[in-house]
C-alpha cells in the first residue's frame, strides 16, 4: 500500500542535472525565490492601466517593486539574459515583450548571439540543432 514514485526521487541529483544544460536556466525553486518580485512586476503588466503607467515612467514604476537596482537596470536595458540570471522567468517577462509590442521570437532572439533576421532564418531553416548543447559535463 506504501506509495512510491515511478522513478528515483533524489531531488539533489535531479536539480544538479538541470544545471547541466548549456545556455539554459531552468526555473527551479532557487530561481523562483530569487526572482519572486521581479516576476510579479512583469505579471503586473497584464493590466492595461499598469502598462500605461509603466510606459509613462518605467523607472518610477519599477521603484514600486521590491527588486534590486541590478534587476531594475536589467529591465530598463531589456537585458533578458541578465534577467534570467536574476530569477526572471520567460513566461512572466513575455508580458514585457507584449507591452513593448515586440514579437515573442524577436525578444527571444536577443538572448542568443544572433541578430533577429539571422535568428529568424535559422528557425526557418529548421532551428538550432541539439547537437553539442545537450550536456555541459558530457560534452554532447
Amino acid at each position: 500500500m506504501t506509495h512510491r514514485a515511478s522513478q528515483p526521487t533524489d531531488i539533489h541529483a535531479y536539480l544538479a542535472d538541470l544545471e547541466d544544460i548549456p545556455g539554459t536556466r531552468v526555473f527551479t525553486a532557487a530561481r523562483a525565490r530569487q526572482g519572486y518580485h521581479l516576476n510579479q512586476f512583469a505579471m503586473s503588466l497584464m493590466k492595461p492601466e499598469n502598462r500605461a503607467r509603466f510606459k509613462a515612467d518605467e523607472r518610477g514604476y519599477l521603484d514600486e517593486w521590491a527588486i534590486t537596482p541590478e534587476a531594475k537596470k536589467a529591465v530598463l536595458a531589456r537585458d533578458y539574459n541578465a534577467l534570467l540570471d536574476l530569477g526572471g522567468n520567460i513566461y512572466f517577462f513575455s508580458k514585457l515583450f507584449s507591452t513593448d509590442g515586440i514579437a515573442f521570437a524577436e525578444a527571444v532572439s536577443t538572448m542568443t548571439d544572433m541578430p533577429w533576421p539571422d535568428y529568424r532564418q535559422m528557425m526557418i531553416n529548421g532551428g538550432r540543432s541539439p547537437e553539442g548543447v545537450r550536456s555541459i559535463r558530457e560534452k554532447r
Binding site: A5, T24, N89, K95, S129
Partner: protein, 280 residues
C-alpha cells in the same frame, strides 16, 4: 454514460492565435501550419463533441508566484480570455461544464490525485489557441470546455508517469458519468522549443517524431521519459509535452492515429498535431 471518444494533441504557440486573429493564416509563413489542421476542423464538425477536457498550462496568467497548483481543474461556469500584455484575444468566452468537471474532480480526489479545484480564472493562449486551431473563426465555441491546468513552469512539473496515470483516472471518471456525452481530451503545448538564453531556438525533429510515434499503438514507454531528457533533447519549454501524456493515458491501452501533422517553425517552436482514437 459519457464516452471518451478521441484524443487530440496540439502545440499552442501564441503566434498561431495572432495569425488566426489577424487572418494571416493562409500566407506563405502560416499556410503550411494551418493546412495541417484542415482535416481536423472537418473531422470535429462531424464528431460534434459535447465537451473537451482541455489539458494545458497557464503561462503566468491566472497563476502568479503566490500560488502554483500542480493539477488544477476548472469547475466554473465560464472563463474569459486572459490579457497577456496586448489585450485579451477577441475570441468567444469559454463555457465550462461544471456538472462533468465536478464529477471528475470528486472522482480524482477519491482516486488519490491531489487536485486543486478552480472556479474562477482567466484562460490564456495555452487554452484558447487550440480552440481556434480546431474550430476556426466562430461566434461561439461549439463545445463546453473543462480546463485542466498543469504546472510546467516552476520545477518540478509532474512526472510523465503521474501525468499518464492522471489520464487513466480521468478516463475512469468520465466513464462513470451518467449523462450521455461525447467527450474528447486534448493535450496541448510542445513540441520542441526553447524560449530563453543562448540556446534558444532549439528544435529536435527526430525526437519530436519519436514522441509522436510513441503515442500510437499499445506501448506506454513514453510515460517513463525523465524530465531531463525533454530538457536536453527538446529545449527548456519542450517539457510541455508531458501534458500530452495525460491525453494519451486517458485513451487506454491502445490507440489508432487518425491524423498527424508536423511543421517547423512557428515562431520559436516545432508544431506537432495528432488525432488519436482509443482502440477497444
Amino acid at each position: 454514460m459519457a464516452r471518451l471518444t478521441a484524443g487530440v494533441a496540439s502545440s499552442h504557440v501564441p503566434l498561431m492565435g495572432v495569425a488566426h486573429d489577424q487572418k494571416k493564416d493562409r500566407d506563405d509563413y502560416f499556410g503550411p501550419i494551418f493546412a495541417g489542421y484542415d482535416w481536423t476542423r472537418q473531422w470535429e464538425k462531424e464528431q460534434k463533441p459535447d465537451v473537451v477536457i482541455l489539458v494545458y498550462n497557464d503561462h503566468a496568467s491566472a497563476f502568479d508566484m503566490k500560488i502554483i497548483p500542480t493539477f488544477a481543474i476548472g469547475c466554473g461556469e465560464h472563463y474569459k480570455p486572459a490579457d497577456e500584455g496586448w489585450g485579451p484575444r477577441a475570441v468567444p468566452d469559454v463555457i465550462g461544464h461544471p456538472d462533468l468537471a465536478w464529477h471528475i474532480a470528486q472522482s480524482l480526489v477519491l482516486d488519490e490525485f491531489d487536485m486543486t479545484i478552480v472556479n474562477e480564472m482567466d484562460v490564456d493562449h495555452g487554452l484558447t489557441v487550440p480552440l481556434s486551431m480546431m474550430f476556426g473563426d466562430v461566434a461561439e465555441w461549439p463545445v463546453k470546455v473543462i480546463p485542466l491546468a498543469v504546472n510546467v513552469v516552476t520545477y518540478p512539473p509532474p512526472t510523465g508517469n503521474r501525468c499518464w496515470a492522471l489520464g487513466e483516472a480521468i478516463a475512469r471518471a468520465v466513464a462513470s458519468f451518467p449523462e450521455d456525452l461525447n467527450v474528447q481530451i486534448w493535450g496541448t503545448g510542445g513540441m520542441s522549443h526553447q524560449l530563453q538564453g543562448p540556446r534558444a531556438g532549439l528544435i529536435n525533429r527526430a525526437w519530436d517524431n519519436m514522441f509522436l510515434d510513441g503515442l500510437v499503438g499499445d506501448s506506454d514507454h513514453l510515460r517513463h521519459i525523465p524530465h531531463i531528457e525533454y530538457l536536453r533533447e527538446t529545449g527548456s519549454e519542450g517539457i510541455e509535452m508531458v501534458m500530452w501524456l495525460i491525453m494519451r493515458g486517458a485513451l487506454g491501452k491502445t490507440t489508432r492515429c487518425l491524423h498527424r501533422h508536423y511543421h517547423v517553425p512557428c515562431s520559436n517552436t516545432a508544431i506537432g498535431h495528432m488525432v488519436l482514437e482509443p482502440q477497444p
